[in-house]
């Protein structure tokens, strides 16, 4: 049940951020759906991936691809969709616990949660990196200029 709520609220959260980032028209829908997609993939990943970091990684990859495709459809920079869609993956909870342990002076838990937060951020970053690099090659191969150049 909590998962259904999470999927709905992931959609709403991304929708909210698309409005704050002043995305207009149809693009809001794409960005909000991207946020939902991010969390659905994360949850689905739990069924066959080995660990939480892999879930974040795979989810970031798919969301980045999604944003690149939407960017081509709407003819606008991919950052527009990616920034709003990646929001549900951002480790807000881990960051909060890291900091509250630091304030309490519980250094064991602080170190544990701190490295956990950093790992999530790195997993997301790695996912975006991999997907952007692949998308770059893929769309370059498809573009007319490139083929023309080869001939």
């Amino acid at each position: 049940m909590i998962h259904t709520y999470q999927i709905i609220t992931a959609f709403m959260g991304s929708l909210g951020f698309s409005i704050l980032f002043n995305i207009k028209g149809r693009k809001i829908g794409y960005a909000a759906l991207g946020g939902m997609l991010a969390w659905v993939i994360y949850l689905l990943g739990g069924f066959w991936l080995s660990g939480e970091m892999m879930q974040y990684f795979v989810s970031a990859i798919i969301v980045t691809f999604y944003s690149e495709i939407c960017a081509r459809i709407e003819k606008t920079p991919a950052t527009t969709f990616l920034t709003a869609a990646i929001i549900p993956l951002v480790p807000g909870r881990a960051l909060y616990y890291t900091m509250s342990y630091a304030i309490d002076g519980k250094f064991g838990e602080f170190a544990e949660y701190g490295s956990y937060t950093v790992s999530i951020a790195v997993a997301i970053a790695a996912g975006i990196m991999v997907a952007s690099s692949l998308a770059r090659v893929f769309f370059a191969l498809r573009s007319y200029e490139y083929r023309h150049h080869l001939m």
Binding site: I2, Y5, Q6, T9, A10, M12, G13, L15, G16, F17, I19, L20, F21, N22, I23, K24, K27, K75, T76, P77, T79, T80, L82, T83, I86, I87, P88, V90, G92, R93, L95, Y96, Y97, T98, M99, S100, A102, I103, D104, A121, I124, A125, I128, M129, S132, S133
Partner: protein
Amino acid sequence: MLTKELLSYILDIGEQMLVSGAEVNRVEDSISRICKAYDAKRVDVFTITSSIVVSIHLKSGNNLTQTRRILKYSTDFDKLDRLNNLSYHVCAHTPEAEYIRNEIEKIGTTRMYGPVVQYLVYGMIAGSFTIFYGGDLNDVAVSAVIGMILKLAITFIQRVDKNVFFVNILCSFVVGMLGFLLVRIGIGHSFDKIAIGNIMLLIPGLALTNSIRDIISGDTIAGLLRLSEAILVALSISFGFGLVSVFVGGMFK
């Protein structure tokens, strides 16, 4: 023909793009494409998060160099979209300087969502993420109200000082203080869920994604600058909460 005036408008396009949230690569690319479209022999653009430098060699043998210092950012993807279209248009049709100036002015006047919508959205985001991380109905209500107050606080504090760290420390202090009080009174149930919902509003998501995208496109300096800014913002959020614990004497449960 590239004149000083025209180059300054081209830089305006680049500057506005960077301010509204474009990656460094896109800014450099747009500027150099436009300059090439106006028959520059060679274009050297260097952009980091806080400055743009352009130097062009003209076919007539003259050189032109202009710089821009960027002091503040305000994310606006609608504006970025329009600027992006403008830069494609300029590349394709190489219009007069006058035309570019008018277009930039037109883009500058496009509207953000109204204040009522903004307040509601702050409430919605904070509430959503409180449910997302497992809060109950009371927590959602408290979190949404604090989200709206947070928006008020941001508007107010930014009038005094626009420094990002200062704003973040004070805002997270406001969030922490209100959350603590409302939980103490008994309206909210779990302080952590309420705080997390509101932290999502302050977290530097854009800086993080853009820094990664900059690093991939080879703009390591700009990427690292943004990354360290994101880390500093995260730190300043925790300083704000640290300040709360000083006032309330010890700990959040």
